[in-house]
């Protein structure tokens, strides 16, 4: 039914306003027909990047290619893509039906075909009963569907969405996430989806583009992003609670061994769920307080004088002041160059663990889902 999606390539995109640099030399490839999520903290340039692809903003430098064609100078109405705004941007004076077929009408699609496609889309999104209403007479979720309908009726090869779910309540957001994903897979278009919510990005996307301060921090599949973060920023941004980042020295002899093997100062990264309470270990978490979450709890404290968090079963959380002996498996240890904060590997990790009498297999312990929905 649909054209297969088209690929998008950004080459050295820079955007600066007087004084502020919103995007700084962004290189990015968005594969055809896939769901790419652009993730990052507020103000990192996600919307600007999306608007650049749409042609609503012109880059200060760099090029945009769609399907191999340079579209940098092409205005928005000629790029053949659709866009869902965070505010939905429904036309308040037009009915739901007129809103949805707006694009078809401007492109003079014959009335019969228009009506037939409208019926299809209304059926798909469950908008049948509301076609004659004005947007102001709809709930937030229904308005969101109308915006979606307007985006998909044209069967464009590319669909851009800027935080389309952020105005919905947590429950509706969860259903819509699944529906959006299903819709994208069913229709096969290329989806570029902006969000500041890591759960949304990780549950929906084939590829996550992590941005930070106008730069692309890492582009990876969701599991790769979680398992092998490229930078300290990526490591701390993905996963809730955030990964513990400590100077290697905080781990005592193990840290010294690692730095010796690497030949330079290191930061170590340990997820709260990677830490396991064991009877014997040189690594100690001095617990300051515990945060009860239900099935499990978070033990806050210090390792070698640096703040750290550990996930423990909700039933036996430690008292404040407890000295917890903790361990972790070599494969759960992330190493970063202390100065550049980039990921680095150390050869013979297991050997170092063995030499210090640490277990090299994953210690068993309660490991719950690391992704807690962010509610805002």
């Amino acid at each position: 039914m649909n054209k297969p999606g088209l690929p998008i390539v950004l080459q050295g995109i820079t955007k600066s306003w007087a004084g502020a640099v919103a995007l700084d030399d962004v290189h990015l490839t968005i594969p055809a027909g896939q769901f790419s999520a652009i993730l990052g903290p507020s103000g990192c340039g996600k919307s600007t990047l999306l608007r650049m692809i749409a042609g609503l903003e012109t880059p200060s430098a760099g090029k945009v290619f769609i399907d191999g064609r340079d579209v940098t100078a092409l205005p928005a109405d000629q790029r053949g893509l659709s866009f869902v705004f965070q505010s939905y941007a429904l036309f308040p004076h037009l009915s739901v039906a007129e809103n949805i077929v707006f694009g078809l009408r401007t492109r003079r699609v014959p009335r019969a075909e228009r009506n037939q496609r409208l019926a299809e889309v209304a059926q798909l999104l469950g908008l049948g009963p509301y076609l004659d209403r004005k947007p102001a007479q709809l709930s937030g979720g229904q308005q969101q569907r109308v915006a979606l309908g307007r985006a998909i009726i044209a069967k464009r090869a590319i669909c851009l969405m800027d935080e389309p779910l952020s105005n919905l309540d947590a429950k509706l957001r969860q259903t819509m996430r699944a529906e959006l994903r299903a819709l994208q897979q069913q229709l096969g278009f290329t989806m570029v989806y902006v969000t500041h919510d890591q759960v949304e990005a990780i549950t929906m996307a084939d590829q996550v583009v992590l941005m930070n301060a106008g730069r692309v921090e890492q582009v990876a599949a969701p599991d790769a992003l979680y398992l092998k973060p490229d930078t300290v920023f990526a490591a701390r941004f993905i996963g809730t609670p955030a990964m513990n980042i400590l100077p290697a020295a905080a781990l005592g002899p193990l840290g010294q061994g690692l730095e010796q093997a690497a030949g330079r100062p290191l930061s170590v990264g340990l997820r709260p769920e990677a830490l396991v309470h064991v009877p014997q270990s040189p690594v100690v978490l001095s617990c300051t307080h515990a945060e009860y979450l239900g099935a499990d709890a978070l033990a806050h404290g210090h390792i070698g004088g640096h703040r750290a968090v550990m996930r423990v079963p909700g039933a036996d959380r430690p008292e404040p002041g407890t000295q917890l002996l903790v361990s972790f498996a070599p494969q759960d240890l992330h190493l970063f160059d202390f100065a550049t904060e980039h990921r680095t590997e150390v050869a013979g990790l297991s050997g170092i663990f063995l030499r210090l009498g640490l277990p090299t297999a994953k210690p068993t312990g309660a490991v719950a889902s690391p992704f807690k929905p962010k509610d805002d």
């Binding site: 205005p75 705004f85 941007a89 036309f91 401007t106």
Partner: protein
């Protein structure tokens, strides 16, 4: 609601009601009342004459002349000044260097006092050495007396009115344009609509409430126009540029025929009422109120 609340409510609206009644409703009723009597002159008191004043009105060629003038005046100035206002508002909406200056220039005619406006235009129109004649003189055209000849006097006054009203209406359009979210235009653009389509299908319909407001004001203004005529033409030559209100003024306060003046006023009130209600009914169907 108990009785005390009622009393309290009436007390609150009382001052406004007194002023409105004293200065608006009573005079209006008195005017209607007077239109059925003759004008008192000297020792002769006013007499009830029934519809005689209205009969006189129907037979009065000057009345018909000023009505036709007023119709042309309204048709000529209202659409033009509204269209100009909208174009000016759109042109200064986007950010560009010197925008504040251009906005101010558009708005200047509205804030200038009437005498200054009239003086400027008298200078334009003066036969022989006025600006218009000086320019046409460069092309070897002869002198013109735009304000002084019956064929052009009304148009000359209309030009001044459009010039003055457009800047005023522009302010309303500017305010209305600020309330339209820019995302709407962007969404339309993405859906393939070129700039013209965005204007006609999105911006213009969303400006409808403003257009209604402005056009009602424009209609009322066109029937209340009197000051420009005083200064520019005095209604002449031969009533060529006289409008209804100016005729009422002349009848009532120059010839002191107050009964006939009252009759003319009743006609004007009825006309304005019908126009305002008609506009609301027509526009109501097409106006989207948020």
């Amino acid at each position: 609601m108990d009785r005390r609340d009622w009393v309290y409510g009436w007390l609150l609206v009382l001052p406004a009601m007194v002023f409105l009644g004293l200065f608006t409703h009573l005079p209006a009723i008195a005017t209607i009342w007077n239109s059925f009597f003759s004008t008192p002159r000297g020792r002769r008191p006013k007499l009830f004459v029934g519809l005689e004043n209205y009969q006189r009105l129907l037979d009065d060629p000057v009345f018909w002349k000023v009505m036709v003038n007023n119709l042309w005046f309204a048709l000529g100035t209202i659409p033009l000044s509204i269209a100009l206002a909208l174009i000016m508002a759109l042109s200064v909406q986007r950010a560009f260097a010197g925008r504040a200056l251009v906005r101010m220039a558009y708005f200047t005619p509205t804030v200038l006092p009437l005498i200054a406006v009239a003086n400027i235009w008298l200078f334009f129109y003066t036969p022989g050495f006025g600006l218009i004649d000086q320019i046409t003189g460069l092309f070897g055209l002869g002198q013109s007396n735009l304000l002084g000849s019956p064929d052009t006097a009304l148009f000359a006054v209309m030009a001044v009115t459009v010039w003055k009203e457009a800047g005023f209406f522009m302010i309303f359009y500017l305010a209305a344009l600020q309330t339209i979210p820019p995302h709407l235009g962007e969404a339309a653009k993405i859906e393939g609509a070129p700039t013209g389509t965005v204007f006609w299908r999105i911006t213009f319909p969303l400006l409808m409430p403003t257009t209604l407001f402005v056009s009602i004001n424009a209609v009322i203004n066109s029937f209340r126009m009197v000051d420009h005529i005083f200064v520019l033409t005095g209604g002449g030559p031969d009533n060529a540029s006289s409008l209804l209100l100016f005729y009422i003024y002349e009848t009532s306060f120059r010839f002191w025929d107050t009964a006939y003046g009252a009759t003319l006023t009743v006609v004007m009130l009825a006309l304005l009422g019908v126009l305002a209600i008609g506009q609301f009914l027509i526009f109501d169907k097409k106006v989207h109120y948020k």
